[in-house]
Amino acid sequence: MKEHDPLNSVLREWEAPEPSSAVDARVRAAYRAAHRPSLWRRIWSAQVTIPVPVLAAALLLLLAPVLWLQLRSRPSAPQPATVTPAGEGYMTRIETAGFKPLTDGATRVIRSGGWKQ
């Protein structure tokens, strides 16, 4: 159909122009708009630039209440250990000051009635 036909060479006279660079930019922009990353991905990959003084001030503001609470909850003086009977006849906490371990290691049970200071 194409060989040696003078019509073909006449048809070749009609040359087409090239598309403009403006359409390239439009197509690229359209592609980018169609393929914007998801909100989650954008948040995940977002970057924020903060000046160092602002960052320091922000950290100070964040840490100040924590430090203040720690200082406030610290006891002013150590309190002595107390002996608190948990139930009738049994001791759950004892005063350990002056405690001496037994040399023989034998266990002895002392009734609460028999304990006197």
Binding site: L7, N8, V10, W14, A16, P19, V23, R28, H35
Partner: protein
């Protein structure tokens, strides 16, 4: 090339801009030329080109097993260009009364050869014109044209034959001058 196109398209659809640009660079000029030769307007052809690639990226109807990406893209461009042609024809019908009708061959001997050929091709019926442009200028095979235009190969041959016969008559002086 088909496998390569499929890979690039897959990557482009997943947001790989370089793959998209590779596909775009490969097909931008042929698609633009085709749309321009169908519509005769640079502006319309550029719109068709843009719409064509957007449809490719957004739509998921391309199936590599059913045909080449080239034929698929030409098919999209063809539909868009024919749509624009129908709109343009409707508009030209509305203003036809105010215009003087100039025959395409009236100034054949004095006009530039390029313009004469352009007029002759643009005067063809759209279906003959698209078959001729795809075959003669974009060098698609008959099978590919059948795929693009969704008709039988025999029908493509018939359209091409009629288009060539019409052009042979209309461009006879130019053909004679060349011979």
């Amino acid at each position: 090339m088909s496998d390569c196109d499929s890979g690039l398209l897959e990557a482009a659809r997943h947001g790989d801009e370089s793959s998209f640009l590779a596909l775009y660079r490969r097909y931008r000029t042929p698609l633009f030329r085709f749309a321009w030769r169908l519509t005769g307007s640079v502006e319309t052809a550029e719109d068709v080109l843009q719409e064509c690639f957007l449809a490719l990226i957004e739509g998921a109807s391309f199936d590599a097993d059913r045909g080449s990406l080239r034929a698929y893209l030409f098919g999209i461009a063809r539909n868009l260009a024919l749509k624009q042609l129908r709109l343009a024809e409707r508009e030209s019908e509305e203003v036809q009364d105010t215009e003087t009708d100039v025959g395409p061959l009236e100034d054949l001997l004095s006009a530039e050869r390029c313009e004469v050929v352009a007029r002759a091709v643009l005067a063809l019926p759209p279906f003959q014109r698209e078959a001729l442009v795809l075959f003669e200028y974009e060098e698609l095979s008959l099978d590919e044209i059948a795929e693009v235009t969704r008709i039988e190969v025999g029908a493509v041959k018939a359209r091409l034959h009629r288009a060539r016969e019409t052009l042979r008559r209309q461009l006879a002086p130019l053909i004679a001058a060349r011979a």
